[in-house]
């Protein structure tokens, strides 16, 4: 098991914005079919880490490998690499001038040059799975935030990526829509999708993760299975961070499910 090649391997990644170094040597592996959840305080570099992985930010030093091939060598053809890395952002960034179907088909048709009939069939299956097949001809502005994020997930999935990156995809959703998006991600985990997820939904992190990565100020402070991390965090920093999500019960026993 541990000898198998990870889908994503990061070694000693350093990243600066101008003179400000925000990632100070990050190393992690995402094995095939596993789900890693990255948590940590705001501004600690989680988004930057994901953006470096699919080349939206240039890195200073270190190495990133996708299926054993380095993609940080400088002559990387990012448009090809990105077809294998699905990414969903916090802001719903569907293309507003295209229908749901148009959004989903654009990448497979133009970037991958696939057959329209075949991709349409796949897109319809995926939309059906997230409960949005009847909205395939709608425009983004006719959808709710939760629906837009589900479409954004399908748009990334339809490229048949090796790994999916999620950057706080529920952070700007109304609370009642968070669940429908998280359920889609749980469904992906069940189907064995390899994922690297940044989230503030602790109950979800615990349910979906094979491993929790706790980051603070540009370094990985702790890396452990969810039950270990949430029950016995080793570092002070992790304990302080987790305390933010705890409410001392005023009336009765604490209810661990209330977060947002």
């Amino acid at each position: 098991m541990s000898t198998a090649q990870p889908v994503l391997r990061i070694r000693d990644l350093h990243k600066k914005y101008d003179r400000l170094e925000v990632l100070h040597g990050i190393s992690l592996d995402v094995p095939r079919g596993r789900v890693l959840v990255v948590i940590g305080p705001s501004g600690c570099g989680k988004s930057t880490l994901l953006r470096c992985i699919n080349g939206l930010e240039a890195i200073e030093s270190g190495d990133i490998e996708l299926n054993g091939e380095s993609i940080s060598s400088g002559k990387t053809r990012w448009n090809l690499v990105r077809q294998k890395i699905g990414m969903v952002f916090q802001s719903y960034d569907l293309f507003p001038h295209m229908t749901v179907m148009g959004n989903i088909l654009l990448g497979p048709l133009k970037a991958q040059g696939r057959d329209r009939r075949e991709v349409t069939r796949e897109a319809e299956q995926l939309l059906d799975r997230v409960g949005l097949l009847d909205r395939k001809d709608s425009y983004p502005r006719q959808l709710s935030g939760g629906q837009k994020q589900r479409v954004a997930i399908v748009r990334a999935l339809c490229m048949n990526p090796e790994i999916m990156l999620f950057d706080e995809v529920t952070a700007s959703l109304d609370p009642e829509m968070v669940r429908e998006v998280l359920d889609v991600m749980l469904g992906l985990a069940e189907r064995g999708m390899t994922m690297l997820i940044v989230t503030h939904e602790m109950a979800f992190a615990r349910a979906v993760a094979d491993k929790i990565i706790f980051m603070d100020q540009g370094v990985i402070v702790e890396s452990a299975p969810p039950n270990v991390f949430f029950e016995n965090p080793v570092s002070d920093r992790a304990r302080r961070f987790l305390n933010i999500f705890q409410f001392d019960g005023v009336k009765k026993e604490e209810q661990p499910h209330v977060e947002s």
Partner: protein, 225 residues
Amino acid sequence: MLDSALNVFRQGRNLARLMEGLWVTLEISAVSVLLSMLLGIVVGLLMTTRKPLWRAAARLYLELVRFVPILVLLYIFYYTLSRNWGINLEAKIVAVLVFTLWGTAEMADLVRGAATSLPAHQRESGRAIGLTESQINRYVIIPQAVRRLIPGVINLTTRMIKTTPFVFFINVPELTKVGQQIVEVAGMKNYMASFWVYAFIFFIYFAVCYPISRFSGFLEKKWEN
């Protein structure tokens, strides 16, 4: 009442002259609008480049042309240039030149606005699904920029058409000029002449500009989704 109207238009070649005037108006408008669109796109894109010199030059041009009254520009080009430097330009050419100068500046500003108002993450979303930069421009950026551009462009077109009577002052025989000449002659005998002639001109401007503006409304509705 109606007789007075019919008389004005029947007299001599009056109606034909008005139509010729309309043709000149349309000619000046159409040529200047077309040239302005093309040049405006170029200047507008210059304003969004990272080269500071280009940006400053485009900016200066825009500020200069936009805030000088059209009439002053017409006089400068028609009288000053031709008198002092012996450049003799036909009035109609001067009209097209000045209108294009002005239209290009306005168009450039519209293009700059449309190109810079698109959120940066639209480009990133395109990158994230593996599109090349030119595919992103073609399928994501340009279609959205054009949609944002259309209302402003239509508005500019009607404004340019409505401003053509200014070329009156450099003696181009366009619609309003011809109308005035007709009124001067016919008005001696027919006190309703000016009313009928200007009503006719009013109607013509409306008939030209209204469909253009409706077309814009149609596109906006169509792209609302």
